[in-house]
Amino acid sequence: MTDFKELIKKQKYSVFIVILFLLFPLISPSDYITHVMVLIFLFAAMATAWNVIGGYGAQVSWCHATFFAIGAYTSFLLFLRFNISPIISIFAAMIMSFILAMIVGYPSFRLRGVYFSLATIAFAEIVKTLLLYFTDFTGGANGLMLPYKGASLMSLQFKTEIPYYYISFVVLALLIFVTWKFEKSKLGYFLKAIKEDEDAAESLGIKAYKVKLTAFALSAVMISIVGPIYAFNISYIDPIGIGHLDLSIKIGTIAIIGGVATLWGPLLGAIIIIPLSEITNALLGSTRGGASTAIYGLILILVIIFKPEGLISLFDKFKGRKKDKKLKVR
């Protein structure tokens, strides 16, 4: 009985939070704040995608920015060259990412642990260099620019940030839902077993290679959905800006700070990191260069020293304490 009541209570919270999120743009003080929310959603979505392989599988990938970039470039090029709506080309982006994930995963999952991570760095560098090299096709270092042609859903261009807000909210919700499904799927269970002990898992018939590859591809496809939304929102892409290791690290960092292998960790990470870099920039950006970014680095260090398992664990404690209290009352 009490369980049931608690469940309702919990649901109440999440329903309340969802409604709050849905109404937010109406009360948002400025387009800027809305834009920051869009960034939070998009980065949370990316970190959620990363979490599938990097968290649940503990296969730390440093090429997720590349899949993101693949998504962005695919949709941009198809739109600029053939006027194909990003809503359609998102599927092309997913297919491209899937294929590339297979190409990277195929050799690198023969290796375990840190080797895989380093292989992903190599792959990311190769793709970045190629994007720079094939200038005629990709615009090279100049990047690609999307001129504003008036608001339209088909071309994902809007006068304000509000439509992006809802779109990115939906994308995030979708990816969290996929992760939730994945957690409970066979694939999810197999991956968790592999994470714990790969030798044992294999000896019991789990095809670790295939499972990791599948999860990696899933994760890559997930993040490639975010690419087009982000690219159209920012309306400019270039290989250094979105295909760089720095971005991959940022994505991973968000998931880790929030808490890996948890459903809500990546969102929490984004809620903290994105405003943090905005706030340090706003407060200290006008002083001598470096201060804001240095503080940002310092905070990363502090978080990891004091909460290495991710900030989501704070909530565990909170929950635990509540339980304890109840027990005492009884």
Partner: protein
């Protein structure tokens, strides 16, 4: 001439890569930390060199002893203050820590000395040895020789001295090490500090070739990873050969394929090695179950 010059180009820059990779590999070897801040340690080493040079002058190479001392202390302090609290908290913790450290160091340095480019006025930087058609740039030759000496010395240190063996023991199992009377924390501290000192040495040897500025470490960060894997993670001599191989691959890709694609050449070789010989070209194996 092109062939000869290409080989020389490759070997010389390879020595530079080895210098940076060797610090990375010892930290990984002993502490299992994939250190994303190694490039920044190099950067700090270059600033230290530059500051000392401004204060003392002379030849930058004469600054090696004080730089060793300063970097060793810097390494110990870093270990005590930020690394030690994280020891044993897992790979992802190390990743975040070193990423954070790298961002922090880069920007603190910028905060203090600005984003300017500094250099030291030594005449050696444009000197070269001419061998027929082939020319060898003197600073690179010195860095190359320096790399060989440092790698050799470090290798002997780890293989032959008790402290070196103790560090390897700690690397494998710190609890067992402590049962043998080895202080694991001391091993870690020394390994970390040596990694930082190696970056400092690289800093001295690179200062004549590169500007000193906050992001200079980024020039080498990725290549160093590749070199380390190629040589076998944690393998000191492997780092030297890995560095030379990457240098050669880069030089040959640049000369014979396309200059722009030199990084692609490097990373393709890297992926091939991962595929064919994942324990690194010089790695050995230990039984599994």
């Amino acid at each position: 001439m092109l062939l000869g010059q290409t080989i020389i180009n490759g070997l010389m820059i390879g020595g530079v890569y080895a210098l940076i990779a060797v610090g990375l590999t010892i930290i990984f070897g002993v502490m299992k930390i994939v250190n994303f801040a190694q490039g920044e340690f190099l950067m700090v080493g270059m600033y230290v060199t530059w500051l000392l040079y401004k204060a003392i002058g002379g030849s930058p190479y004469l600054l090696i002893p004080p730089v060793i001392v300063i970097m060793f202390i810097f390494g110990l302090l870093l270990y005590k203050i930020v690394v030690k609290p994280v020891v044993g908290k897992g790979d992802t913790a190390y990743i975040l820590l070193t990423v954070g450290l790298s961002i922090f160091l880069q920007n603190v340095v910028q905060l203090i000395w600005g984003a300017n480019y500094f250099s030291i006025e030594t005449t050696i930087k444009t000197e070269a040895i001419q061998m027929g058609d082939v020319s060898i740039q003197l600073p690179r030759l010195i860095a190359f020789i320096g790399a060989i000496i440092l790698v050799g010395g470090l290798h002997l240190f780890l293989k032959k001295t008790d402290i070196g063996k103790a560090m390897r023991a700690t690397a494998e199992n710190s609890q067992v090490a402590s049962l043998l009377g080895i202080n694991p924390s001391r091993s870690f501290a020394i390994a970390f500090a040596i990694g930082v000192v190696m970056a400092g040495m690289a800093g001295v040897l690179l200062t004549p070739m590169f500007y000193v500025y906050p992001r200079v470490g980024q020039l080498f960060g990725l290549t160093a990873f590749v070199v380390v894997v190629l040589g076998g993670l944690g393998n000191i001599t492997g780092a030297l050969f890995g560095g030379l191989i990457i240098g050669l691959v880069e030089a040959f890709t640049a000369s014979y394929v396309a200059l722009d694609l030199a990084p692609v050449g490097t990373f393709v070789v890297f992926l091939l090695v991962l595929l064919l010989k994942p324990e690194g070209i010089f790695g050995g194996g230990v039984r599994k179950t």
